[in-house]
Subunit: 278 residues, 2 copies
């Protein structure tokens, strides 16, 4: 489209089974969530090319989502014509492992990435053969040892707050690894599966899977509850922390402020995290 | 084994993802739950041939289970040697879509099929695009129309009790279609998915899927809540009742009486249902 064509910002909420995707970010020759969705949106809106997307959480290969959020700036004319039929056409155009739960015009100042207040991920672990559910094997990690969630929660509580999470992040040049961890808590769901809920303003790469990897040995009794906090304090990656597999992880929710606060939040986030854009 | 070798009756509790199985019952050239499990048990117990199994619920192709129960009469000598290692060896020998949750010597008088007091199945329906979860697409039926669960429950209540369910069964020569329907109830789970719970002493072939197929049009508003009971009363299959797809259905639980009552219950069930054995 021409630079001065009017555009409209559209928000879409997504759910996907990450098993067959090479993660979010488009890569030549790979099946990615971004690639499949941007092609489908271009097709459904009859645009000459795929749509550029901005995402709240860049999930890795094999990670799932129930509450992913994206925005796209679309030609206003095409959106006006096709918006009504877009949900139904998208459900036909998309494969069964990727669903658009809702799509519509975004409020002023909305930015899927920079307006977000926090992201919530969940990591599922089954540690009891008597509870094994083959229907959930695609989104549940299997632990051959029973986990003591009380010990894991004791360890987790010591990690809360704003810290440099360099010990749990894959380092990127010029990017801050300071994050505010708001919640890190384990409980058993109705089926007895241990579910870790992790909430932070944002996450650096591998952070949730490294945090879970630091807590599992505590749950198994092979590390003291103080150990993950000691790793955190050293601020360098510890080879003893095993990054757990992606298939237990889902992006469950992205929270945004009230519409009036969206632009201010985005400006604040950019000021703090701009160096790591990309 | 020789006819007078001592045998021990063993109970195993199973969970499986029915997607890739051609149902429970062994069939030449097909991958079935019975075929895979009996071969694995024979292998794990070092027996010269597959183990003969008796199952609580003969699930159809594509139907899942979280609470399936089987028994097998095993050579006591082999069981005595291998029982301790059986759970671990089975978990290695079985594919990821079939799990033995527990295995052990059955109490006196136990019969997986005939001792059962009742079976409970669940049928999952998602009727809201905003709740669509690709991770559950293998065990959740998609309804493009929103369902009124109150109307479905009104209709379901009229089907409870002991009736001839011939209208909802695939007829088999000489087999009774009289069943006691103890519970048939819809509610939404925490994710907003409509879950129908169905409990009966036993089910004839296709019965749960035909009952659900009679209730969905009520939930969609295209049939009155009185319609399924009218179909029931005619006691012949009604082509207007669509048998819903198998993938939404799971066998969740089989309930047995207290150990002292197992043999009496089995004798009673055989007297009532023996003609349909097989």
């Amino acid at each position: 489209m021409l630079a001065d064509d009017p555009v409209v910002r559209v928000r879409a909420d997504l759910a996907y089974d990450g098993t067959e995707f090479s993660g979010w970010a488009a890569q030549p020759g790979r099946r990615t969530v971004e690639g499949v969705l941007s092609a489908a949106l271009g097709h459904v809106l009859r645009l000459p090319e795929p749509v550029r997307l901005t995402v709240a959480g860049r999930t890795d290969a094999g990670v799932h989502a129930r509450g992913q959020v994206v925005h796209a700036d679309l030609p206003a004319a095409a959106w006006a014509v096709h918006a009504g039929a877009a949900p139904w056409r998208l459900s036909r155009a998309l494969p069964p492992d990727l669903r658009v739960r809702s799509i519509g015009t975004a409020p002023d100042g909305f930015d899927a990435r920079f307006s977000a207040l926090w992201r919530r991920y969940a990591y599922r672990v089954c540690d009891d053969p008597a509870r094994a559910d083959p229907l959930r094997r695609h989104d549940t990690f299997w632990s051959p040892r029973a986990l003591d969630l009380r010990a894991m929660n004791e360890a987790a509580a010591l990690l809360l707050g704003e810290h440099d999470f360099a010990a749990f992040c894959r380092k990127r040049e010029g990017a801050t690894t300071v994050r505010a961890l708001r919640r890190l808590e384990w409980e058993r769901d109705a089926d007895g599966v241990a579910v870790g809920s992790v909430v932070a303003d944002a996450f650096c790469h591998n952070m949730v899977r490294a945090l879970v990897g630091a807590l599992l040995p505590v749950g198994e009794g092979s590390r003291a509850p103080s150990w993950p906090a000691e790793v955190l304090a050293r601020a360098v990656r510890d080879p003893a922390v095993r990054v757990v597999p992606p298939h237990g992880l889902s992006l469950e929710e992205v929270r945004y402020p009230e519409p009036g606060q969206l632009a201010a939040r985005a400006a604040l986030t950019r000021r703090v995290r701009e160096p790591e854009a990309g």
